[in-house]
């Protein structure tokens, strides 16, 4: 399982990449995609939507079930990745390349973990 060191992680299994200027990209982690299994649909927010930390920002459907993506950040949706919406299986194949949402005007965030701490957190979850 992959835990790239340049990223931050939430306890609800999203990764966060600081892209500067008070903005960040989020996606789901390798652990998350592996737990979900084959992903076949993602429902993304609209550009301009408000993101609130700890609340649902998107949802992904695997063959088996639906899961909410929890926003680790509060801010404004600046962009969504339409390529991933068209090819949701890319979240399985390349979870850290397949960013979902870009959030700007970040005003608050959930507790974020380093790669090392997130790895330990996943190991505890089994």
């Amino acid at each position: 399982m992959d835990f790239p060191s340049g990223l931050s992680y939430s306890k609800t299994h999203e990764w966060i990449q600081d892209i500067g200027g008070g903005a960040a990209r989020i996606g789901i982690t390798d652990y998350a995609q592996n737990e979900l299994g084959d992903i076949v649909f993602v429902n993304l927010p609209e550009t301009g939507d408000e993101a609130s930390k700890g609340e649902r920002i998107a949802d992904v459907e695997s063959v088996k079930a639906v899961s909410d993506i929890i926003s680790p950040l509060s801010g404004v949706v600046k962009a969504v990745n339409k390529d991933v919406a068209d090819n949701p299986e890319s979240m399985n194949a390349d979870p850290y390349g397949a960013w979902l949402i870009e959030i700007s005007d970040i005003s608050d965030h959930e507790e974020l973990l380093s790669a090392e701490d997130y790895r330990a957190f996943c190991e505890e979850e089994g």
Binding site: E14, G37, V40, F41, E61, V63, A65, V66, I70
Partner: protein
């Protein structure tokens, strides 16, 4: 991400538990058992069954023996199908109805002889079924729940024939759909073999003693290696049966849904003498609501228990739905008002507050090409 499945500790293990774990199966609780939901992935396993073959542990299924000179009379009373004139070695699907015409369970009946029948019932309903039958048996008949002693393995897919032929004599391979041969040596292991399944593909099911199950599982996987046989889990079992339009108890039918509503009239013989539920079903052969197929044409995936709309009016609810890996689009089955059930009708499904477009289509969604 949220909504993780928990791993139960109170569930029973099938005799193949160790085989699943060593093959990397992801174990989940299901109907009181720990079973693999997937090994490599639901889509890969699903596609393998459609193109080649898959091997399933279905040992959770319940097996109930009915023996005695009044066994047939009791079946006739308990079940909606007609078992008179059924040849030995045949398998027949039936509903077991309650007095209101709702479905207690759907099951298959194996006929060994005039005085011996095997009923294969849904794992989740086993206790309910056994109690239901016991309270209603009359005359010279004995019921025995042998589920805990019997393992069941399903080999499904177009390559299943070739794989089985490597392990069993020709005389031990049931030639026709819904027939079986008992006491077959499959790789030297004694089994009942039937040509049955729950995937929409040609396939076989093996019933055998728990102790022999891991060895048969291994022999089948070995024999199938050259044919692309893969172990397959509950996830693929569900997507395969849904794509093939096959009903699942607790979804397409239950105690409050009649066989006619579930579009299972082929398993009900209204012409036979009084079976439980017949009185309530009489005159309701064409119910107001009926099972229909939906192809999801909008963006999203319908699951079960979601409201279906036609022209903005609620016409019923989905009973199950998923993304179909072979077809490449999502489908659902729904129990909807007949007025909205015509093929081609434009519909919508409310998926967690979002209405997504759908179209009424015939069931099955997928039908195999016979070869």
């Amino acid at each position: 991400m949220s909504g993780q499945a928990s791993t139960g500790e109170n569930e029973k293990r099938t005799p193949l538990y160790g085989s699943h774990v060593s093959l990397g199966g992801r174990m989940v609780p299901f109907a009181g058992y720990l079973l693999p939901v997937q090994y490599s992935g639901v889509i890969a396993e699903h596609m393998a069954v459609r193109a080649r073959a898959g091997l399933f542990d279905v040992s959770h299924m319940g097996e109930v023996l009915l023996t005695g000179k009044d066994a047939l009379a009791n079946l006739q009373m308990l079940l909606s199908n007609d078992f008179r004139g059924m040849p030995d070695g045949r398998v027949r699907y039936s509903l077991m109805c309650n007095e209101s015409g709702g479905v207690v369970d759907d099951l298959v009946v194996y006929r060994y002889g005039d005085e011996k029948y095997l009923l294969v019932v849904n794992a989740a309903n086993r206790g309910k079924d056994v109690a239901w039958i016991r309270e209603r048996l009359s005359g010279s008949v004995t019921m025995e729940d042998i589920s805990d002693d019997i393992a069941q393995i399903a080999l499904q897919g177009p390559a299943s024939d070739a794989i089985l032929r490597k392990l069993a004599p020709a005389s031990g391979i049931p030639e026709k759909y819904y027939t079986f041969v008992d006491d077959v040596a499959v790789g030297g292991i004694k089994c009942l073999v039937s040509q049955t399944g729950y995937t929409g593909e040609k396939g076989y099911e093996f019933y055998l003693s728990n102790a022999d199950a891991p060895l048969l599982w291994e022999k089948l996987l070995d024999a199938g290696a050259d044919f692309g046989l893969v172990p397959a889990g509950l996830g693929a079992r569900d997507t395969l049966r849904l794509e093939a339009g096959m009903p699942l108890y607790g979804h397409e039918m239950d105690d409050g849904v009649t066989p006619f509503e579930a579009d299972l009239a082929f398993g009900v013989k209204m012409g036979k003498d009084g079976f439980i539920g017949k009185a309530a079903l009489t005159g309701h052969e064409n119910p107001q609501r009926k099972r229909a197929g939906l192809k999801i044409t909008g963006k999203g995936i319908a699951r079960g228990n979601e409201t279906v709309y036609v022209d903005g009016e609620a016409v019923g609810r989905t009973t199950s739905g998923t993304h179909c890996p072979f077809l490449g689009y999502p489908v659902a089955m729904a129990l909807i008002d007949q007025s909205g059930a015509q093929t081609g009708t434009a519909a919508e499904v409310d998926v967690r507050g979002r209405r997504i477009a759908a179209e009424v289509v015939p069931i099955p969604f997928y039908k195999r090409v016979k070869r």
